[in-house]
Amino acid sequence: MHLEIGEEKSGNSGNIVDVKILTLKNVKKHFEGLRAVDGVDLTLNKGEILGLIGPNGAGKTTLLNTISGLLMPDDGSIMFKDRDITLLPAFKRAKLGIARTFQIAKPFSLLTAEENVLVGMGCKLHGNISSLFKNCRKKEILQKADEIINLIGLSDSKNQLASSLPIGLLRKLEIGRALATAPSLLLLDEPASGLNNQERNELAELVEKIRKLGISIILIEHTMSFVMNLSDRIVVLHRGNTIAEGTPQEVANDPLVIEVYLGTKGVKYAS
Amino acid sequence: MRRFLCIVMVLMFVLCGLLSVDAMAQETVKIGFITPLTGFAAADGYSSLESAKLAVDYVNEHGGINGKKLELISYDDGCQPDQASALTRKLIENDKVAVVISGSYSSPSRAAAVICQQAKVPFTSTYAVHPSIVEAGEYCHRIGMAAPIQGRVGGYFAARELGAKRIALLIMNNDFGVSLAEAFKETALKLGAEIVYEKKYPLGETEFRSYLNAIKAADPDLLYAPGYYNEAANIVSQAREVGLRCWLMGDEGYDSPKFIELAKTAANGVFITTDLNRDSDRPMTRYFLEKYKERTNIDADMVGASGFDAVMLVSHILNKVGTKADDIIRYWDTIENFEDCATGPIITFQERSAIRPMDIQIVLNNQFRYFYRYYEPEIIYLNPPSGGK
């Protein structure tokens, strides 16, 4: 079941369906003694936005990498839509419907914005070898790409090289490229970093739109207002372990979280 | 129990080893042979080794060395000087060979010569031409033609016999090509010819058209291109292709059936200096040419002939004086008119290099044919006996 972009899913917009889309059990990833992720359990419901926060080095990005398949977990299991994907390589997970962006915005910098989206669309289009040798700029494909480009608001600069785009558009382009793979789970790794307030608000709107498409989202973010406002649920990681979980309010008031992570800033936020 | 069995087995192995070594040592006279069987020079190494084996078989069929079998111990030096030194040391120290023969190129031969000189073991190179090989000392000889002689013969033929006035040089940039070219140039200049073009090219080069176009523009009477057949085949066929119409002259490095195979009809008319006369009716030459073809299914070349000759000469000496190094060396320098070899008879050794009549061959109808032979002492001796060099 793949969601077509631009097609509004009726009924459940904004609502979380009680269907587990992603289940992590006891996931571990160690780097020569450093326990980056040390036994994390996590579940994600369909249509949910899960905020993943924690201090630098807490293991957030590593956890995201194990979910997207760039890293293989040392232990534990990952279930995605009732399928064990623990040992699948990244590209197969992408085909199943897990898309991601990166902490440091990385588009295909020598391709145009449109081509970046086209690369993402290739994920679903090219099942067989023969399609590889077909024209990459067919009309119907370009139309679909345009829908995504419109959604992320990049229509004006779609023919620019990605390397020439400002950071705000780059962040959107990354999301667009990820959306092009028609995901059911989107992993966003600090999408708001480096953005000013206005860009950040636009991005928040975009994330809301994406959620309305029925796509579940895991969001790593340091900008507290951004993550607290968007997330349905927050998980706090510290030294590779989950130390708190709950609604944004619950987590913000959790004394342990305030102590290890939020610090004085957190106290301010809570008060 | 198990430990006891182990000990017994180890003991048996050791005993067997000792016995076999003793038994072999009593039966055979060993000569060592280093030659490149791997790397870029492997083809020459193969010719050389197969010919040496042919000679060993011949010697053993004709009574061996004073009743003992002649044994050839050969190693692959990959045409690397450091390998050659190490393997020569191994031949001398482990295998206790009476004589070391090098079937390799100039630089490895030079390295081996130095080791043999230090160990006072007689050494001979076969087809390596560089002058410095025999300069290692009195234990080192050369069976093939020294570059100064061969280059000089080429120079005489070009400038005197063919009467070339304008000469172009295209030289392979290694010991072989450069030392030949030097001797050739000296002789040709002395005989009044003019060098109108000179260029060095690296071993392994395949594209000569730009040089050849420049040579064509220089309009020479003759192109002398010392090198090996692989490169030479390209030079010759490309020379014909660009329309260079002058005499083409090469050296013993061309002397291989492969040269003609690769250059095809372009090889016709090319002169080479060599010492293997395929039209000779000397019984030993015929024996070598026929048996080599029988053994390897390939036509023999000059490299093989000199390997054959080295073993023949060494076994002749061993038969006469035994295996003591000093006796061998003393006898070696007195050799005169040695006929049991595939190349022209060895007249004598001068400065420890073989002196023999020199041949010019020409390629006709896709075959090497006898063309001219030099007997004149002032040409074929390293230092002509009359004195004036």
């Binding site: 990244a90 898309a99 295909f108 994920c123 | 730009s210 085949a233 492969k258």
Partner: protein, 284 residues
Amino acid sequence: MLQVLLDAIVLGCSYALMAVGLNMVYGLLRIIHVAHAALYTLGAYVGLYCLLNLSQSLWISLFVGALFSAIVGVLMYRIIYSPALTAPRYVPLIAGAGVFIASQELFRLLAGPYPYSFDAHFQFLSIMTPNLRVTETQMLMITFMVVAFLCLFILINKTNLGLMWRACTQDMELAASSGININLIIAINFMIGSALAGSAGILMALYRNSVFPTMGAMVSYKAFVVIVLGGFGSIPGAAIAGIILAIAESFLGMVPIFNLPREAIAFLVMILVLMFKPKGLFGR
């Protein structure tokens, strides 16, 4: 003059065909594929075998030789490079050099140390005038190169595969996360590069009329000079630089006072490029 230029272009075609494969691999994996030259020799030997035993047709031997090289090229990646990719970059370099040396000895063991004549007869265009002469083989080489590069250009810029390939050369991780089967792309990359190397080997064997175990040695470092000159990873760079290098070699080789061998010219060019334009003429 025109003649020298033409001969140089033909020679440049062989450099370019070799360098493109090297650059395709470098662009994708950032490794120097030293064993690439082994596929050049392999193509020549397989082509020769075909010619002697299967069919008299040059076209069939060209096809079979290229196909064989392509398959072996992919195997080479799977067996040699793939496990070494996570290691420091000198590891695949040394592994490749080892494979290249071993391959020379393997060819020698299988086919013998002597050069073979590559005696194919075929019909093709040729130009023969008093001032200009382009032999059938030269014409074939130029045509092959032009067609090969046109195909490559279309493949890379117009097709889905090309888009995926370009994406992979820029960021392998990102490409994998976008659902691109990077193993497949790498395999196809090796296949195309190796097939080009194999056909270059056959064409050169035909041109030089010789096939021998160490025939790849000279082209291997010439191709390296070409990719330095053209810019690492740049395919048009490799094509143009191959021809530029051959032209430079040929014309400098004609100057009588400039008494340097051809290979010295190549390395002189490389040193100059590294000094003044380290990214190469077309590097990015």
